[in-house]
Amino acid sequence: MKFTDFILPGSVNTQLEATTKEGVIRELARSLASAGGFPESELEGVITAIMRREELGTTGIGNGIAVPHTKHISAERLIGAVGVSEDGVDFSSLDSEKVNLFFLLVSPPDRPGEHLRALEHITRHLKDDKFCGELKRADSPEKVMKLLVEADERVV
């Protein structure tokens, strides 16, 4: 699996304005809908599903990274958005650090394998401090996509 298999280019936001967990999830889910990931009419349902998932336990996995996600019937395939917050957002992360880098994922209900493969791909690459730092400092969606495409070409 590659980043470009599931990250929708139009859903990358390097200037997140939200300062709360729900705000970030709303902002990124809206980006995903705007990029054609799912119908706008499903937006509130997707946001609610992601928030309910967060109530079961944070997806802030440490190192300034969070992977909010849900299964949702409106997703025809695994889709994802990327968000960068310069100031960071409190996500109740495992290491209590603020989160600067978000990968929001929505997957069809019947394909858990795709979700696990995406997590594997994301986390294996983000263990590279240089790559992770460059993503957190990226100042445009184009820069993020360039970094993701370059990462896809590396074997980790």
Binding site: L56, I61, V67, H69, L116
Partner: protein, 98 residues
């Protein structure tokens, strides 16, 4: 050093919530703890590392514990795996999720 083979029994595989549970538990022990698959070893005290294991239902992982509390750490992490990370308790709270 203690090693034990563990199997991912839950249907959704070893996902974020499970990795977080293992990570939180591992942090309580001083021993060095790792889960490995196919020669790839993940530090149990790093959720980022654990999620890179890619372990769907049925995957066998090797837990290695090395340190003063290695047996206690092995027993408690094995308990999580054997009880499907206690997901049934979560299922009662919300619809099935990842």
């Amino acid at each position: 050093m203690v090693t034990k083979e563990l199997t991912v029994l839950n249907q959704a595989g070893f996902h974020v919530r499970n990795a977080s549970a293992v990570c939180k538990l591992a942090m309580k022990y001083s021993s060095k703890l790792s889960l490995s698959k196919g020669g790839y070893a993940a530090d149990c005290k790093s959720c980022l590392d654990l999620l890179s294991l890619m372990a769907p239902q049925g995957t066998k992982l090797i837990l290695a514990a090395d340190g003063e509390d290695e047996q206690a750490a092995t027993d408690s992490i094995a308990d999580l795996f054997e009880h499907k990370f206690y997901e049934d308790e979560f299922a009662a709270m919300a619809p099935p999720d990842l």
